[in-house]
Amino acid sequence: MLNVNIHNLKLKNPVMTASGTFGYGEEFADFVDLERLGGFIVKGTTGNHREGNPYPRMAETPSGMLNAVGLQNGGVEKFCKEVYHRIKHLDTNIIVNVSGSSIEEYCDVASQINELEKIPAIELNISCPNVKKGGMGFGTNPDMAAQVVSEVRKVYHKTLIVKLTPNVTSVVDIAKAVEDAGADCVSLINTMLGMAVDVERQRPYLSTITGGLSGPAVKPVAVRMVWQVAHAVQIPVIGLGGIASAADALEFLMVGAKAIQVGTANFIDPAITMKIVDGLEDYCNRHGIKDINDIIGII
């Protein structure tokens, strides 16, 4: 009833988790049956180990949070040698979020992940707002976005998802550019660039001054952008941004997302993804829907 396909990926249901909010899955194993997820996207992985930005990296804002983690991760080699072997047995789609500060770095990471049998897809992160070089720089210009995607396409031979930033004038232009460059799927939205000030201390909350806003506060923007992109491209779209319930997930599906990712809500209820899967099942039963694909893109 809930099965969906994204390019070559077969998902048990449309519910996945967003990169950077679910670690390597293991952190949530006490709360979630990981094999009941459609898939999960592991933490942004770069060519080398990255320490990320200095503390404080997080600020709570109304119905949301700002983060400026800055892609802290152990690097692609550590992922392939250590983490991969701890999680590869899981019967779900494990997707690696790939980040970099140069086209060479994106290609290097992507080609190493390409060799991992149990990783059926990567999510190319051209939208991280918290790194000085690369990241969002690639995702805000259609030509740059197309260039990085077409280079990665040459070395990566499985499902290539490209994660888009909302911090642009026209997300549709970027989506079309990466589709033409060979992307198999787009996911959106990454966080929105934001800022918050501690008025008592008279300074920004974040060490980096600005950071990425996530949580329910961004959801209407995300729904709008997914709707726009889903109507403009032929490739499948994965929707994310503030999803915290089955009803939220259904909004994204109805405007054209084939699957969804749950992010910040994992911090508030570590078992939320299971509740969303149950909620989708319940919705289909109540509405006499035999195949969830029947409601995808009805708006």
């Binding site: 670690g23 709360f31 320490e51 404080p56 990296r57 709570e60 119905s63 911090f267 508030i268 209820d269």
Partner: protein, 258 residues
Amino acid sequence: MKEIHDFTILERQQLGSRYFALVLGHGGCMQPVVPGQFVEVQVTGVREVMLRRPISVHDVNEEHGTLTLLIQIVGNGTRRLAELKVGDHLNVVYPLGHGFSTTIPARSKVLMVGGGAGIAPLLHLSKTLKANGMDCTILLGGRTAELIPVRTEFEPFGRVCIATDDGSLGHKGLVVEHPAFSENYDMIYTCGPTPMMKAVARSASKRGIRCEVSLENMMACGVGACLCCVTDTDEGHKCVCKEGPVFDISTLKKWYQC
């Protein structure tokens, strides 16, 4: 194993104007909680508060299946928690983090230094250490006597020493100026304001005494996934929620020397 559970508030105690204690139970068997571990509680009904609040475990009663939280009112989240009444529910994710080392040689002479809300985890710790046969000294500090809310609870588990900035109780001055602080110990544990913990760590390091500190950074997930609460250790950024909150100072030289 970590779990998420709706607890019922069985008792509530107001401790001066700034602190209150909640005794929680859920009628079932509880997960074991190591001293120094914490819980993340959900705050409902406040627009500004979305994330859970990390609160250290003050006391555990395995026989009755209860845990006690000692909470300082500091912001919108804890102010809302202070409104909870006996019989209300509180959604809790627990037990979280890496706690204090309690498997040290028997009859070790140990010092626990707590300041402000940092006193909270030391009750469960002192109980456990006393049960393990340690010779315990508990040194509690605060600006005034009112800000050291639960000192009498410690009395069955060791010698209790007090330091207050205004001299309203015990020694007048900082905890590190209390005569008991400069005695020799096999191990020092500390939890409290950062400047206090750094002073304790610097002194312990100089005297060659093993020392553990419990850090408190702003957190989101509580399980080591979001990487928001990191502290800069000698081995790089580590999550306070997962690799801490308790760290041995041997990995925190950069932290306590500045």
